[in-house]
């Protein structure tokens, strides 16, 4: 993504806008998926985000923030969708402390992922898969950089434990055979 492309889109170049959208399709998909899970909802939210971006991109004064900006637009669309579906959704995304660590529970990877909070999944996705910086993730979600780092470490550890557990189980199964 080049800043020049963003500027072109802001000046009314639709092709430039579409290029930007295509370049960021995967990132938008991942962001929405981290929040919404259901493919239909993901599609709806990202489509809505594209439409909003189409009309709002001119408001972005600093093209270098495009990636973070479009992520924020997607997140907003996802929460709007949830709000419509659930009637209400808490915008208190991330309490700074207090997640549970149940190290003894025999979770497989899927259960472990499910045990990860929605917000942790979003943070992991934004940082590891969408390549946003800790600072940008913190700003996007309105939490401190320290909290983001803490959750990254926690989430990664959770994954690692689950992965190792599954590997052990797999080895045990093959040994039994």
């Amino acid at each position: 993504m080049s800043e020049r492309m963003v500027k072109k889109a802001q000046n009314g170049d639709k092709d430039a806008f579409l290029t930007l959208m295509r370049e960021n399709e995967l990132a938008m998909y991942r962001t929405a998926k981290a929040i919404l899970h259901r493919e239909d909802d993901v599609e709806d939210a990202v489509q809505e985000a594209v439409c909003r971006a189409f009309y709002k991109i001119g408001d972005l004064r600093q093209p270098r923030y495009f990636k973070t900006w479009i992520t924020r637009v997607v997140i907003n669309c996802c929460y709007d969708l949830l709000r419509d579906q659930r009637g209400i959704v808490s915008l208190e995304l991330l309490p700074e402390t207090g997640y549970e660590e149940d190290r003894d529970a025999a979770l497989d990877v899927r259960e472990s992922l499910a045990a990860l909070g929605e917000n942790d999944r979003l943070i992991l996705t934004l940082y590891y898969l969408n390549d946003l910086s800790v600072r940008d993730v913190a700003k996007l979600l309105g939490i401190s950089e320290g909290a983001v780092k803490q959750r990254l470490v926690h989430g990664r550890r959770r994954f690692k434990e689950a992965y190792e557990m599954r590997e052990q189980e797999r080895r045990a199964v093959s040994y039994e055979k």
Partner: protein, 712 residues
């Protein structure tokens, strides 16, 4: 204190190792995560849905955001907001009467108000003639020149752009390097988060002394021999004359390399290639740099400069890692040489001395000159105190004459669209004389001399904004690499728009578009207060978790009034996790250099003592510039216990409380140093306005409609 920056911070990159390792982006984990979250690739249905929405978008896109559309929206909220934003409205009206007159509800008011003025804006307003049309903004064309290299790591060095006003030569350089190979030379875990070290050239042997000093730190007692070490210095000549002086934009984390005006740095640039590299595809990382070279006196009359680059080696600074002390060089040398010539036309047009300078909010411009690559100015700004006044350690960790530096403001130069062109480095500038200060606390003013390098370009206008310091940046200077980036919260001290066609500078209000405020200088809460000391002690800094000499530690700095010093050797720092006392570091009698007091050697020759669960040392040169008292600084470095570290080396629980106690009697002298530090920081640096701004900044993330404007 003078050399403190060198001794304490050379390995700025050493920090954050364990934390970064705890969440580093490695391809294996990213791949695993994508797979488990079922996010490797969107399903075909998603792609179809996207194609559908692209096809349904209107043919014509809305045109670019009109700068005052958001102002218009705000203003349309009628009378209530009029009270709140009355001043802004009046300001906007004086500059953009058409806008305010068009406002629903209040437009009539402004029409009536403006009716009394002479007709200045006829139906077809006279627009300024674009200088482009007159050819005045045209720059001599420069065809990029690429110097190739067949090395394993480096590929092309390109002179992307070159421009000269006859006295200086401005080069915009880029370098392609095979990122994965370059990374093998560094230890990313030693870098501050997100920091990727620069690639350096050393232009002259002026660097030799600095290299020798660094060498001594790694090999005490051994003689430095640059030739034996295999160092080759680069050279650049202009019309056959050797360039001696370089004035490139510096990186404060690497001051020690660049302070002799001899280093040329190329900095890592974020590109999408990085994603490719992360996913296992070999990609070239792009490094860029803006080099400013002084044209040798003998060559200055020429109209065309013939430039010759001879860069036999590059140095990669990222390898200053502990294991390198065991036999390696402090820096990696890349033998990938570049050599080439090109010519640059001297362009002496576009320079001007601005006149009709105006003042804004007690900030007066007394002189201002401009070339397409440089803005210099002398300003009188309110004196808010010296840095040392607060007893805070702002730039102390970067070296430099910090206590004497007037506290207060930093400058940002931007285009009228808000694009930042140059940001003054509050940590580095005083040390490098880019910005000079002459403060006079009695007169209430300080003189600020600015020199800002710009990317060479002829412009019609520029905006010079002075911001108050952001206390966050003061406290967490190391995290920001010295660049004040918190422009969302920093309040404006003054703003001027420079009309480069007319050669004038006048106050302006562009900052309002960014939601920033400009506190009245008469009532500024940003005047630095000398803090109330408790027990003659100022809790100067509490860093809860930092990597120091391969250990996770807390670093506590105290500033102590001279009359308390005789008792210092009895003090100890006690650290708790929960209610349990887990670590204690004792202050030592620094006069007693006996075996009982074991020197650590962790900071070279500095008298640092192993004492209890960490390190202690004391510095006597902590001038505060406050009533000429010579305060002493005490430093306690407390290691986290092994059991409090996770498998990645990260801290599980930070110390919950840190108390300063009298080790002999057990009496608590100061309880909860961290709490005291935070309270003092707020009290010292600002008043409630900062808090309000900070709150405002935090709350934006929850506003669904504000996504766009909040980044602006």
């Amino acid at each position: 204190m003078k050399n403190r920056g060198k001794r304490f911070t050379p390995p700025a990159p050493r920090r954050e190792k364990a934390v970064r390792q705890g969440y580093r982006r490695d391809p294996e984990f990213c791949g695993f995560l994508a797979k488990e979250l079922e996010m490797e690739a969107p399903p075909e249905s998603f792609s179809k849905a996207m194609r559908r929405v692209y096809a349904e978008l209107p043919r014509d896109m809305p045109v670019r955001h009109y700068p005052f559309r958001s102002a218009m929206k705000s203003l349309a909220t009628v009378a209530v907001l009029l009270v709140v934003f009355g001043v802004s409205l009046l300001g906007a009206n004086s500059v953009y009467p058409q806008l305010t007159e068009s406002l629903p509800g209040v437009g009539m008011l402004f029409k009536a108000m403006n009716g009394a003025k002479p007709e200045e804006t006829p139906d077809t307003p006279e627009l300024p003639v674009p200088l482009v049309a007159e050819g005045k903004l045209a720059m001599p064309e420069f065809e990029p020149v690429t110097l190739s290299c067949q090395g394993d790591i480096l590929k092309d060095l390109t002179v992307e752009n070159a421009w000269s006003d006859g006295e200086k030569l401005y080069l915009h350089m880029s370098l392609l390097a095979l990122e994965s190979q370059l990374q093998t030379l560094s230890r990313p875990g030693d870098m501050p988060y997100g920091y990727i070290p620069p690639v350096l050239f050393f232009l002259t042997d002026a660097y030799r002394d600095v290299a020798a000093e660094i060498f001594q730190e790694y090999y005490p007692g051994e003689e430095f021999d640059d030739k034996a070490a295999g160092y080759q210095w680069s050279s650049i000549s202009i019309n056959g004359q050797k360039v001696e002086s370089v004035m490139e934009t510096r990186d404060p984390a690497y001051l020690q390399y660049t302070e002799t005006d001899s280093a040329l740095a190329l900095h890592y640039e974020e590109t999408e290639d990085r994603v490719l590299a992360k996913e296992g595809i070999q990609a070239f990382a792009r490094y860029t740099g803006n080099w400013v070279l002084e044209v040798p006196q003998e060559a200055r009359d020429a109209d065309v400069f013939s430039v010759s680059l001879n860069l036999p080696q590059l140095f990669y600074a990222g390898v200053i890692a502990p294991e390198m002390r065991e036999g390696g060089e402090p820096m990696a040398i890349l033998e990938d040489a570049f050599q080439g010539d090109f010519t640059v036309e001297a362009d002496r047009s576009g320079a001007l001395e601005l006149e009709a300078l105006q003042a804004d909010n007690k900030v007066e411009i007394t002189q201002m000159s401009y070339t397409p690559a440089e803005l210099t100015a002398t300003l009188n700004v309110p004196f808010l105190g010296y840095c040392g006044y607060s007893l805070l350690p702002p730039a102390g960790y970067h070296g430099g004459p910090v206590p004497q530096k007037p506290y207060g403001m930093y400058a940002v130069v931007s285009g009228e669209d808000g694009t930042v062109l140059a940001s003054q480095n509050i940590w580095d500038d005083s040390a490098t004389q880019r910005t000079a200060y002459e403060a006079d606390r009695l007169s209430g003013y300080q003189r600020m001399k600015l020199r800002v390098n710009l990317s060479p370009e002829k412009r019609q206008s520029l905006v010079l904004t002075l911001y108050y310091f952001d206390p966050e940046e003061v406290k967490f200077a190391m995290d920001s690499a010295g660049i004040p980036a918190g422009d969302l919260v920093n309040p404006v001290a003054a703003e001027f728009t420079l009309d480069l066609a007319e050669g004038t500078a006048a106050p302006s209000v562009n900052y309002e578009k960014q939601g920033l405020v400009k506190p009245d200088a008469e009532m500024s809460p940003y005047i630095l207060h000398h803090p109330e000391l408790q027990e003659g002690i100022y809790v100067q800094g509490v860093t809860e978790d930092i990597l120091f000499a391969d250990q996770r530690v807390s670093w506590i700095s105290l500033c102590v009034r001279p009359d308390r010093l005789p008792w210092v050797q009895d003090w100890a720092l006690q650290c708790y996790i929960g209610d349990e006392l887990v670590q204690t570091v004792y202050a030592c009698d620094v006069q007693d250099d006996s075996a009982y007091n074991e020197r650590s050697g962790a900071l070279g020759d500095l008298a640092v003592y192993n004492s209890g669960s960490g390190l202690f040392w004391r510095e006597e040169s902590g001038q505060s510039n406050y009533e000429d008292d010579d305060y002493a600084h005490l430093h306690f470095i407390v290691e986290y216990p092994e059991w409090d570290l996770d498998s990645y080396g990260g801290v599980l629980s930070s110390f919950s409380r840190m108390d300063l106690v009298d080790a002999a009697t057990g009496q608590v002298i100061l309880a909860d140093l961290r709490g005291i530090n935070r309270a003092l920081l707020e009290e010292t640096l600002c008043g409630s306005l900062y808090k309000e701004l900070e709150e405002g900044n935090r709350s934006w993330a929850g506003e669904s409609e504000g996504a766009a404007s909040d980044y602006n």
